[in-house]
């Protein structure tokens, strides 16, 4: 009951369910880009900075990051019921469409046109991820580490994972740990 009432939030479990259904059914190639659009830009349940903070937890824990994020949002407002409803919303329509697509694939999957179309969609999906990441970078403006340090950490992580193919765990433990310690010192110094 301490949540500030002035800001937008899901009105009901139904609202939660349909919001996640809507973003899930649009989410070709992965739902995260659509989550950012829906939750931050349209519904404004989260600011972009809050989205990044929640994303940090969702991405670090085991499980599909987007699903983790939906559970975090759903449970924040409606507890266990909210978490269940969010997950249900994420899977309800996509379960049907994936069954249809599996049938279609069994029939047309070997067609070179289909393979080329999928490659085209893959290239677009890649662009969606990159653009969402670039948008989220703007949220780092308010990060206590300061923009330069944030950018150095981000660049090192990108180069390590994408170009040098370091193991994810090492990047998260090494660079993530460094980010944690630096932020901790900074926050402690302020308080």
């Amino acid at each position: 009951m301490t949540a500030p009432s002035a800001r937008p939030q899901p009105e009901s479990l139904k609202d939660l369910f349909f919001s996640f259904t809507l973003l899930a059914i649009q989410g070709f190639g992965g739902v995260l880009a659509y989550m950012e659009r829906e939750l931050v830009e349209r519904k404004k349940w989260l600011t972009r900075a809050e989205f990044v903070e929640e994303w940090a937890v969702a991405r670090t824990m085991p499980g599909p990051p987007a699903l983790n994020l939906s559970i975090m949002v759903g449970s924040r407002y409606f507890g266990l019921r909210g978490a269940i409803v969010s997950v249900a919303g994420m899977f309800f329509l996509p379960s049907f469409t994936i069954a249809l697509m599996a049938l279609a694939y069994a029939r047309f999957g070997a067609d070179p046109h289909v393979i080329d179309a999928l490659r085209g969609m893959g290239a677009v999906a890649a662009g969606l991820f990159i653009a969402t990441g670039l948008k989220l970078l703007t949220a780092l403006k308010t990060n206590p580490l300061g923009v330069p340090v944030c950018l150095v950490l981000a660049c090192l992580s990108f180069v390590g994972v994408a170009l040098l193919h370091w193991r994810l765990v090492y990047v998260m433990l090494g660079l993530g740990g460094l980010g944690y310690v630096l932020t901790f010192i900074k926050l402690r110094g302020k308080s």
Partner: protein, 197 residues
């Protein structure tokens, strides 16, 4: 190589399948796609419940379909069940695999989310959420990068790379519905415009 498989699943096999997916679930930091090699090894190489082409088709379909990519696990289960006994078993196995893949990680994030929210003022919690920020954003960009460059070569596939670049700029700068971009990508691909030579 990829002859149709036919076998009978004992209840101990179902149990083995479920517990393996429980294990995959708790170790799927970064998402289930990270575990593709391990899952492939278990289902295809070790147990022979699935052909290699059924495995890759499941992943391709789930990535092209709307919704969370983890649905490839449902397709894996579907194929296993179908190989073992037909439609009904396929449906059962799809649900079983999804429950195995999701239940542990969902329970874990639920408990964590509660704890994190309750202790959101602690410096230790704030430092984690803020300090991990740059890294997890970079990982997102990196996964887009790897999606764009995996299985492609600059000299041969530059139209695909150009499409990725154009999409990036458009999505970052406009509020266009992303569905139209995907449709454009599919159309360009299907008409052969993205294939050189």
């Amino acid at each position: 190589m990829n002859a149709p498989l036919s076998f009978v699943m004992q209840w101990t096999d179902w149990f083995d399948l479920l517990t393996h997916f429980f294990l995959f679930s708790v170790s799927s930091i970064g998402g289930p796609l990270v575990l593709l090699p391990e899952i492939h090894h278990y289902l295809v190489t070790q147990q022979h419940w699935l052909t290699s082409s059924q495995f890759s088709a499941s992943v391709v379909i789930a990535q092209a379909a709307p919704g969370p990519n983890v649905l490839f696990v449902a397709l894996l289960g579907w194929n296993i069940g179908f190989n073992a006994g037909g439609l009904f078993v396929g449906f059962f196995a799809a649900v079983l695999c999804m429950v195995g893949m999701l239940l542990p990680s969902c329970a874990l994030i639920f408990v964590t989310a509660k704890w994190v929210y309750k202790n959101r003022e602690l410096i230790a919690v704030r430092a984690f959420k803020l300090g991990m920020g740059p890294i997890v954003i970079a990982l997102l960009i990196a996964s887009g990068w790897m999606l764009a460059t995996g299985n492609t070569e600059a000299a041969r596939d530059w139209p695909l790379w150009a499409l990725t670049a154009a999409t990036t700029v458009i999505v970052a700068r406009t509020k266009i519905n992303m569905f139209w971009l995907l449709l454009t990508g599919a159309t360009l691909g299907a008409t052969g415009l993205l294939t050189i030579g």
